[in-house]
Amino acid sequence: MTVKELAEHFGLKILAGENSLDRPVSGGYTCDLLSWAVARLPADAAWLTVMGNINAIAVASLKDAACIILTDSAPLDIPALEKARELSFPVLLSEQDSFTLGARIEGLLY
C-alpha cells in the first residue's frame, strides 16, 4: 500500500508532500512523545500523532517514516508545513482519533 492509497481509502486530507505519495506504507505507529518516537518509530510506518510541529517532521524524516497522519484534526504549524514541503514529506490529516484510525489502518494492512 502506498501513502496515496492510504489517503484515498480513509479520506485523509493531504497537507504536504504531494510529490512523495508513492512511498510504501508497511505498518503504523502511534505516539505523541517525540523522544519515544525517535527510538521506536519504524521505517516505512504511517505515524499517527497529534504533534504537528517542526520537530515531528524532523523525527519522521530521520526515521524514514512513510508519512505523518495528524489525528483528531490536530494542527500543523507553519514552520512544520514549510519543513514538510522542503523535504517533500507527506503529512496527512484525519478527523478521527489515533486509536480509531489506527485500528482501521491495522485492519487494512494486516
Binding site: 525517535v38 527510538a39 510541529n53
Partner: protein, 142 residues
C-alpha cells in the same frame, strides 16, 4: 592516507527549528556511502537525541563526527550547565527539561537512555558549570 571522513557541525542554542540538521546530514552522507543500514539508524537516533539535548539544556554546542569503514565516532560537546547526577540522568523517565520543551513533545527523560542503547560505546565527561562532552561509537557490525 586514511580512510576516515570527518565532519563538524555547530548546533545552535534554543532553536528547535534547526535541531536535527546535523544528524540528518550525517544520515544522508552515510546512506550515500552505502554504510550498514542498522549502523545508520543507530547513529541517527544517538546524534538526534544529542542535538536535542544540547538545544534544550546547553544553549547549543558542537558535534564532530568521524566515519571509517569499521565505525562511526561522534563527539558532542557543549559549554552548558553540566550534568549534576549522571546516573540519575541515565534513568529512563528522569528529565529536567522545562515545560515549554515538554509541550513540544520532548523532555520524556528518554534522551540519554536512547543514546546509550543505540551506541556500542558511550562515555560522558561532565562538570557542573563548565559543560558536557559525550563520546559515542557505533560499530559497522555489532
Amino acid at each position: 592516507m586514511s580512510n576516515t571522513l570527518s565532519f563538524d557541525y555547530i548546533v545552535p542554542g534554543d532553536d528547535f527549528t534547526r535541531a536535527g540538521e546535523a544528524s540528518s546530514d550525517v544520515k544522508h552522507k552515510l546512506k550515500k556511502i552505502g554504510y550498514d543500514s542498522d549502523a545508520i539508524r543507530r547513529v541517527a537516533i544517538a546524534m538526534y537525541e544529542g542535538e536535542i539535548n544540547m538545544v534544550i539544556h546547553a544553549g547549543g554546542g558542537k558535534v564532530h563526527v568521524e566515519i571509517s569503514p569499521e565505525k562511526i565516532e561522534m563527539v558532542l560537546s557543549d559549554n552548558g550547565p553540566g550534568i549534576e547526577d549522571v546516573a540519575l540522568a541515565m534513568r529512563e523517565g528522569y528529565s529536567t527539561a522545562p515545560d515549554k520543551v515538554r509541550a513540544l513533545g520532548f523532555g520524556a527523560g528518554m534522551g540519554l537512555p536512547n543514546m546509550k542503547k543505540s551506541t556500542d560505546v558511550m562515555e560522558i565527561s561532565t562538570k557542573v558549570g563548565v559543560g558536557t562532552t559525550l563520546h559515542m561509537t557505533v560499530y559497522a557490525k555489532r
